[in-house]
Amino acid sequence: MSRTRVVVTGMGTTSPLGGDVASTWEGLLAGRSGVRALTEEWAEDLPVKIAARVAVEPTEVLERVKARRYDRSTQLAMVAAMEAWRDSGLEGAEIDHDRLGVAMASGIGGVNTLLSNYDSLIEKGPRRVSPLAVPMLMPNAPAANISLYVGARAAVNTPVSACASGNEAISLAVDQIRLGRADVVLAGGTEAAIHPLPMAAFANMMALSKNAGDPTTVSRPWDTGRDGFVLGEGAGVLVLESEEHAKARGARIYAEVLGAGITADSHDIAQPDPAGRGGSRAILRALHESDVDAESIVHVNAHATSTPKGDIAEGLMLHATLGAHASEVVVTSTKSMTGHLLGGAGALEAIATVLALSHRTVPPTINLDDLDPEVDLDIATKPRDLPVGDAAALNNSFGFGGANVAVVFGSV
């Protein structure tokens, strides 16, 4: 049975490396870190005083009145969605809006709005809680506002699976198109959780690095000196479209989304299965759904967040799923530069994966000075060329709650 092919026809991001795809990609290839010391007063009391803020404040890009009605997570999502929509060539095009969908994820939702309104409640009383608080803080606010912006009237979803959310949104969008429920879906993820409460919470659960050295060296996936992730913020959006729809309008096609695999560990609420069994099953399902064998995979954009256990588990997964070929695949963790965007991570990394395939260049993993002896992978520490010809690449995301999502992209 032939199945609907799904292609990527537009991309947009605002990230710690740049306010759009071009500047972000340039930053990734240059091996630039987006991690900085936090200058806010509240950071002084925190055990972790660094994060990866977006390079361009969203309020510099969005209309002021619109921006004040968006939580920061929606502001970032809108910047990314507007670029992706323009990039796809669909802005202003005559399309069936009843068959245009959105799958926009967030790991945490409108936490800045929730907490700033709580501050108003305590300091000034209930009258000062904003009437806009609910439509701003609801987790589906980014998806809903993208729907309003592009006129999407098919399903407008918000998958939530912590740090796997962005990748899950891509998977969900592919399903919507393959099931014939939509022709075009804007898919991705956003996160804006650089606030003292989530930062204290992540630090207290020992997830964040407490390395007090040069902030640009703290996110160091697979290095023996790693001790946790660096919190980042940002958003990524991909315009996914049935190949038929894309070709009919002569769209530029970056890559094909071949398939995805989603599984759960059912092991621990926060710790990954140390053997990576759930993640391995997700990768195998993604390969099966994509109808590609392990040897077709030339590149992996790893989840690798710079945590002691997770980075090792992902290496085990790649060996369990790709076999001997695992040591021939060029692997990278762009989180070494962007920090960890939580619900935005899978989406930003999907963009990096697609660009790596289309430019045949893998961005480096920075700060990898001393490879953990428990990790046996070919990790790019400088930009690395990929072979020409048909190729596929894997984008992994794993989240608290035991969520595992693997997505396979193919070159065109």
């Binding site: 209309e63 002021r64 009145v65 004040r68 009258r127 000062r128 904003s130 009437p131 806009l132």
Partner: protein, 81 residues
């Protein structure tokens, strides 16, 4: 005591801040919803900002009566008494 014009000017600033309306358009005869592009949630924001700015209380049941800028200015003048 603030004059009618001073209240209108402050209200125009608030309306601009909340809804992006050009302050010059915020005149006494203008309807918030029909003329100034203020939706119901923005209207609540404007009311709360007026309470803070002018030191008055505007009960929820009163808000529906504040259709025009003139209605709001008159209410604030009375409430300031």
């Amino acid at each position: 005591m603030a004059t009618t014009e001073e209240i209108r000017a402050d209200l125009a600033e608030i309306t601009n801040e909340v809804a992006g309306t050009d302050t010059a358009h915020v005149q006494l005869d203008k309807s918030f919803i029909d003329d100034l592009d203020v939706d119901s949630l923005s209207m609540v924001e404007i009311v709360v900002a007026c309470e803070e700015k002018f030191g008055v209380t505007i009960p929820d049941e009163e808000v529906k009566n504040l259709k025009t800028v003139g209605d709001a200015v008159a209410y604030i003048e009375r409430a300031q008494g």
